[in-house]
């Protein structure tokens, strides 16, 4: 076994929830590797409705899953995430130093402080006979993650699962009133990134808020990370 790649965060799933997680983590100065069982980004958006228009993405009267994916991939480019397509996560194990060892069915294994499950409904539990994406289920329950309604139970502030350091956002997370909306996944990613900042940079949440919640329209710090001229 080759030595694991050390990074800040591993995002599992490259659909809208995973991509916007990479973006929000990037703003919080957290480097990401992204693992997805499919050969390219998009998740359900491209697997199920690549050419089918969606009408409820804020700011778009209509947009295809394919175009939304392309736009989100473009948006994360300043943060240069490392992609691992065609890979499945086999196991996530807490190490003595508090980091998480993520093993895949490919060559890569990764060592990170934060793991974000953004793999979509049906990906986290085996659903025999379910559509496309459930052909590559993530055995989250086997990793000790509490599940409910087919999603990982998270608190609504930090979006952390029952396992410290493992977060969940998007259709694969579960909380009171959870809507399987892409717009909700974007909010969940933003909230998660605040808590991930605390784990990765060690400062308290309030400090994280002060330093982490800046606005891209005014912060030269964030604009530098985004490569804005």
């Amino acid at each position: 076994m080759t030595a694991p790649i050390e990074t800040d965060a591993v995002v599992v799933g490259a659909g809208p929830a995973g991509l916007f997680s990479v973006f929000q983590l990037g703003l919080a100065n957290i480097r990401c590797h992204v693992i997805d069982a499919q050969p390219a980004a998009g998740g359900q958006c491209t697997a199920f409705y690549a050419e089918k228009p969606i009408f409820d993405i804020p700011g778009f009267t209509r947009i295809t899953g394919q175009e939304l994916t392309q736009r989100l991939v473009e948006q994360v480019k300043p943060f240069a995430p490392q992609w691992h397509f065609g890979s499945r996560v086999i196991n996530v194990a807490l190490q003595d130093d508090g980091r998480l060892l993520v093993r895949t069915d490919g060559e890569a294994s990764l060592l990170a402080r934060v793991v974000v499950l953004a793999a979509g409904a049906g990906a986290l539990v085996q659903k025999p006979g379910g559509p496309g994406i459930s052909a590559s289920p993530i055995p989250a329950q086997d990793w000790g993650i509490a599940m409910q309604d087919g999603g990982a139970v998270v608190d609504m502030v930090r979006f952390v699962t029952s396992q410290p350091g493992i977060f969940a956002v998007g259709d694969g997370c579960s909380y009171a009133g959870k809507l399987a909306y892409i717009a909700s996944a974007f909010h969940e990613a933003a909230m998660m990134a605040q808590a991930a900042f605390l784990l990765c940079h060690g400062s308290g949440l309030e400090d994280a808020r002060r330093s982490g919640v800046q606005y891209t329209s005014t912060s030269s710090n964030l604009q530098r990370r985004l490569g804005v001229q």
Copy 2:
């Protein structure tokens, strides 16, 4: 005093949070009137940074407040909201039949089952010397609405305030971990609309979920409301 206009919902504030509330309410088959003290839609987006790019709206590597506003105004058109610009809300009072009477400083008064405060931070409480928007504060506290950190306290599932029928979304609502992000306001609007559906259409929340949470990419019902051919 002229007789009040009867409608389903009154949205106070025509910034991104208010506009996307109109959209989500429209999908739930709830007709809206929109009140804003400014002469046009946009809220803080156009008042404070009309030409300044924002970099963290999902799907846009950069977008001005002006362009985001125009896109959201376009997105609500199928639902034909009635606009009341240059108007301030003076009072919201619960009526014997459970509806809310909204009085403005203009000619219009409105009678609705749902009121959504989407008026932005600083709009809900008087902040002497604050910038622009606080020159037209909404005396929410006088209406018996519990406030915290300059926002109306809401629960994180329904986004209802301490006053039944009065909801709050966007920068002017307050809950654990609240981020003053536009992306969060979009999620809050979607959650609020589920609860508003219950109030307006009388069915239980689970029924509302079944009938209300459909996907615009697949539901002919929603596509008809949107005017999709």
